[in-house]
Symmetry: C2
Subunit: 128 residues, 2 copies
């Protein structure tokens, strides 16, 4: 059994194309002995956003803190604490923080996601 | 994309042998379209506990609320909000709530866990 508080896990800037004001903690994953899936914790600063993109693997998300927006294609959904999201494979998605405090959520992916490609989607939409 | 608040997900009593004062919400899983792993949210009432058992699949756990105890074999570890736990396959484990408020945590398992067997361990220890 491994036990670690999230605050003791190093926080890294998310350097992916299309990300702004995002940091991540790799809470659990293959390198920490997790056999099948990885648990990451993201923080999006006020005004920040994750990349708008798609990929052939799912996200399972649990919102811990803050008031954000989940972008599904061109549709925006408000999200907040206790919200549970499933982003299915190949769905275009993005998470934004239009609020005044940090948006913090867990986002889990299968371990084999690292071997799969990510397609960035222009902010103005798929067809432009 | 599916979005649902945890409070809107039905809460069920945990009827497993060895469980006391435990309820669960099945937030995400195969029936809700999750391809690989399932997210459940457990609540353990004050004085309650999960079964002491082992099984050939992992748990990835994130503690949301409360003050609990994670039992690893015969060793007890205090746990609280923000703690991240990995229970590896075939580890004997249990979660107890000796506190005065609810212990609430996310616990994720692979989808194929339903096809695998669980071995209950007597409370007095493996050898007795």
């Amino acid at each position: 059994m491994k036990i670690e508080n999230d605050q003791n896990v190093e926080q890294q800037n998310v350097e992916m194309e299309g990300a702004a004001g995002c940091r991540v903690r790799l809470l659990l994953g293959e390198k920490k002995g997790a056999p099948n899936f990885a648990m990451r914790q993201f923080e999006v600063a006020p005004g920040g956003h994750t990349p708008k993109h798609k990929h052939p693997y799912e996200h399972e998300i649990y919102v811990l803190e803050g008031a954000g927006v989940a972008v599904e294609g061109d549709v925006e959904h408000p999200i907040g604490p206790g919200d549970v999201l499933l982003v299915t494979p190949d769905e275009v998605h993005q998470f934004k923080n239009p609020g005044e405090s940090v948006l913090r959520f867990l986002c889990l992916i299968p371990n084999d996601a690292a071997q799969k490609s990510v397609t960035v989607v222009p902010e103005c939409g798929l067809d432009q």
